[in-house]
Symmetry: C2
Subunit: 359 residues, 2 copies
């Protein structure tokens, strides 16, 4: 098996650390994530480079990464050497962007074995470093990625302008080149009808709201990713602080909403969670959308003590592994949509088999 | 507590024998039922009698019933002495007709303690004897009710015409005065889309098709009551034989339909049953309609060996006790619709608590 392909198998046999490990406020905050866009001085942006140039740039970056020694157990992927299904697996694990699923020469990634830090090479920018931690810990992610970036910067000449900051392919990233985000699970705000007001408020503060699976997927699993929009005029610390303040407020709102539901609409809540659990435990055909929304209800129920012998990290992991490419990797064959719905139901039943609902 | 009211409590503490006991083909045939309409010679039909006359007729019939000694453990009910809720309980247990729920003087019933045989007094006819047995055993029901009727006829002068047969208030019952029916559970024919053709065919044979809860309720729980329409021109035995032949065919069709689903659409079937079970076990709010349809799926699953430690009689009983009046008797207070949905869910969870689904 070629190295890149072998590495995909290795990822699949691992747990995703930012989903499986505990973190602060992880009853509501799934994960914190920062990515930095960097480009190499004197080399044309990816978009205007020919395949040979891209291949050379990738090699140079890979050598520099090894030299910088900032990974514990790096896994290398040359994307053109992967089957499309494997690239989709990387997308579903949030290691690459949607653009990287298409066949592209000179496109690669290097990631730590536990997937907490990685680099996309020759995406929109030459380098996109991405770091993730479970729960709400943007500050800690920033410290980790900043140290990583400093190390790498010693080996690679970043394109940097004293007035503008880091230069990027798209003007919207110029400056810090940073996008910081927190993935929040907000079923309480959704069930109590407050979510629209909250996301509207967040937008007015100049922050972006997206779903777990990108723009327009906010209705899936009640997962909301809140991130900064602008990269100019603020330092990285200021961006992290401003975003953290808003996140802390949303977490407070969500806690209040759950508490109010528990106090004033207990039957409604128990019914919502109980039915979702019943479906997940006993369905034999289930769509991706119904699974995500049922997992959302289950996750809230777990947080509210309705279940024993399950933790929310099992649920977090399911958000990822019930996606189409993961299912087909587990099944070891291509599955059409109807077959995936059957296989997905079996996987969910198996994963939740040992969970008991408290009476 | 007055006697009639006390007797309602006694019924509620009993199991309904025709639902709880085993019978031939009871995976598909819930119960077999025959009623005979009889009137007393020389006394005006109920519809044209004043309250005093009705009261006198009722007393005379009650005395004759005791004298005939055809009940093991008779329970007497004077309906005017019952609260409306208690009359609804009797309706839900199929011991009285919908007309008897309204306040009526001189209306009564006498039933055996295990509810397998009973008499409505002063309904449309002076006397309506009804006998029930679990499963498909029309012939046995006929033998039981015939003996019972012969005994009673020795004590009461029935209105009888040598040409027409038994005289009844409504001309459609003249002759045998008999309506025989079998309640069938037909989820296989419904799921495989064959039910319409079957019920159309049954109608063409001059038989009637109704739902468990009367005309127009065929969609509830996939329960279908097939009965004879005509009471003239055939002997009781001929009616029973003709109806039995048709029922036997429908049971065969239903078995084939279930087998075909199991062979050709196994996932669909497992999913249908599994989801219903998940909902029944874990919902906290559930309507009557959803409960009946979920119980129907569960009942089929039990028959197909998908569950351990449950028998279909538990499910049969639930068909009756999840109805509004029963729920309110168990709760010992009036419940509005929303409260019933909560109480119903709790009752179903409790009753199915010990059922395990086979892996």
């Amino acid at each position: 098996m070629p190295e890149s392909e072998n590495n995909v198998e290795m990822l699949l046999s691992n747990k995703v650390s930012w989903l499986s490990d505990s973190g602060p406020e992880d009853d509501i905050a799934i994960s914190s994530r920062i990515r930095l866009a960097r480009n190499l001085e004197g080399i044309p942006f990816t978009i205007s480079a020919d395949p040979e140039r891209l291949a050379n740039t990738m090699s140079a970056i890979q050598v520099a990464i090894r030299k910088a020694g900032c990974f514990n157990l790096p896994l290398d992927f040359n994307l053109i050497k992967l089957k499309e299904l494997d690239r989709k697996v990387l997308l579903e694990r949030r290691l690459i962007s949607r653009e990287f699923v298409a066949e592209r020469y000179g496109a690669g990634i290097v990631v730590n074995r536990d997937e907490d830090i990685g680099i996309m090479i020759n995406e929109e920018d030459h380098i996109r470093i991405q770091a993730l931690k479970p729960g709400f810990q943007l500050r800690e992610v920033w410290e980790a990625i900043n140290a990583f970036d400093d190390n790498l910067g010693k080996e690679l000449p970043y394109a940097f302008d004293n007035d503008l900051g880091y230069l990027t392919s798209c003007p919207t990233n110029v400056g810090t080149g940073m996008r910081a985000s927190v993935m929040l699970h907000l079923p309480g705000l959704v069930l109590s009808g407050q979510i629209y007001a909250v996301t509207q408020g967040v937008s007015k503060l100049g922050l972006a709201v997206r779903g777990f699976f990108g723009e327009g997927t906010e209705n899936l699993g009640n997962l909301y990713q809140i991130s900064n929009q602008s990269t100019l005029g603020e330092s990285e610390e200021q961006i992290v602080d401003r975003l953290s303040t808003v996140i802390r407020q949303i977490i407070g709102h969500e806690k209040n909403a759950r508490q109010a539901l528990l106090e004033k609409k207990q039957e409604f809540l128990l019914n919502h969670v109980g039915r979702a659990y019943g479906i997940l435990r006993h369905a034999y055909i289930i769509s991706s959308e119904e699974t995500l929304n049922s997992l959302s209800a289950l996750r809230m129920g777990v947080d509210m003590g309705m279940f024993s012998s399950v933790d929310i990290h099992t649920v977090n992991e399911l958000f990822v592994i019930i996606q189409p490419a993961h299912l087909q990797k587990y099944a070891k064959k291509e599955l059409v949509s109807e077959e995936r719905d059957v296989f997905r139901a079996a996987l969910v039943r198996e994963k939740l088999r040992t969970i008991d609902k408290n009476a």
